[in-house]
Amino acid sequence: MALPPLRRKRFDLPLAKDPTSRFLTWLTALMVYLAALSLAGALFVSDMARRWDTGLAGGLTVQIVPLPAGSATLNERTEAALTVLRSTPGVKSATALTTDDIGRLLEPWLGKEAADPLLPMPRLIDVVTDGPVDTTALTARLKSAAPGATMDDHAVWLADLRRFAGALHLAALAVMALIGGAGVMAVVFAVRAGLAIHKHVVELLHLMGATDRYVARQFESHVLSLTLRGGLGGLVLAVATLAGIGHAAAGLKASLLPTVTINVWHLALLAVVPVVACLLAMVTARWTVLRTLESLP
């Protein structure tokens, strides 16, 4: 069976030849590209914050510092602290880090000699919790059983990180809002230019009985086709850029940096950016045309 010939969409207004058409496509591509990168940044920060949360929340660190001679030994106080910790409700496990472990942790600052037995090294106990722990009472019991013991529940550290991640989120949102605002202004400009260029045709259609919505639909369709092309181009470019950054970041072994890998969830969210851009452009085009045509009788 022969397929019917494809018929190009017919516009009563010759908008495709307008000089603003190409400009709007390129501008949309650029804006979608920047918005997609901002969104990706926000997503990566979210992942990073979630990793910090899961890594640090639900855990405590107890530090026992060396004391002057005459006190109980470091090992004795560590054992006492472990006993207190393991008998505390909400504590799942308490493990003392070995001197080698501590040496490895300090190696970036003190070098290979960090594990030198002559250095007065504190002892660290990694505590994993599986329920609420009364940290005030636990700190008091630890201080009593093992003088020189301090406890860090990561609350301050986590709060700082969460604040930082929140600020990055807000910045990404602000960038996207600014890009959206600039996009709206560009569409308003392009549509107004189109209305001015085709004033005669618009007036003719109006006199022939075209409703404002009929004229607005022509602009909407035109703007949709331009922004869709630009939006898809910008999205492809953004995904390619992120893949490139991910490839470059894969060589870095910095665990605090966010993982720059694009998964299906990220792709789905990034694909929303051109869709939102198109919808925003269509609504703006409609609003601009309807507002402008109000001046006709």
Partner: protein, 218 residues
């Protein structure tokens, strides 16, 4: 009727067009013919006075009511006002598409009417490739495609020779016989004499309605 703060271009104009009537509109250049036609096809609103169209008081209608009324008015503009980027068929199809007609119906009716005006072989021709007379026929086909209740033409025979002018007038006569109210602004005395219809004569912004039997005055 006045433009902005300028002088009145039409004043004390009062007339009634009975449904299904045919009138010529005459008057020297600048007498107000185009302004009166614009008032009739709702391109302008009067500075003062009352217009009743199809039994509806224009002053009481909102802006949203006007498109539907405009679609009941066919207009042949002096400069044809064809859209250069659209084919003859697509130009004629504009009123139907605005009314939401189906594409098959649009193509069928437009093809039929373009054949009727002798342009059956130019359906897909762009206006720029058509002669002045052919463009005028496209404009007329467009004005009547929707079977308007009121058909207005501003110098429709101004750019064509007498033979084509006569043929165009016969088209308007056909629409008149189908029930349309027709008003044709023209300077062509030969046509006015040939088609004996009443005149709306404008002089210095005032209107004189002249019945058909006295239309032979100079």
């Amino acid at each position: 009727m006045r433009y902005g703060t300028g002088p009145e271009v039409l004043r004390d104009v009062s007339f009634t067009l009975p449904p299904g009537s045919f009138h010529f509109m005459t008057g020297a250049s600048g007498a107000g013919k185009s302004s009166l036609l614009k008032l009739m096809y709702l391109a302008l609103r009067p500075s003062r006075g009352l217009i009743t169209l199809f039994g509806r008081d224009m002053a009481r209608l909102t802006r949203a009511d006007l498109p539907e009324l405009r679609r009941q008015i066919g207009v042949v503009f002096q400069d044809f006002s064809l859209l250069d980027h659209l084919s003859a068929l697509d130009n004629v199809a504009l009123p139907l598409r605005m009314s939401g007609a189906g594409e098959a119906e649009v193509v069928e009716h437009c093809t039929e009417i373009l054949r009727w005006v002798g342009l059956g072989n130019h359906l897909n021709a762009l206006p720029s490739t058509l002669s002045g007379g052919q463009q005028q026929r496209v404009a007329i086909a467009r004005s009547v495609i929707n079977r308007p209740r009121l058909l207005l033409a501003d110098e429709p025979t101004g750019n064509v020779d007498d033979g084509i002018g006569m043929r165009l007038l016969y088209l308007f006569e056909e629409m008149h016989k189908l029930g349309a109210t027709v008003v044709i602004a023209t300077h062509n005395e030969a046509l006015i004499r040939r088609f004996n219809h009443p005149r709306l004569h404008l002089e210095n912004g005032r209107l004189h309605v002249m019945p058909a039997q006295s239309a032979h005055w100079a």
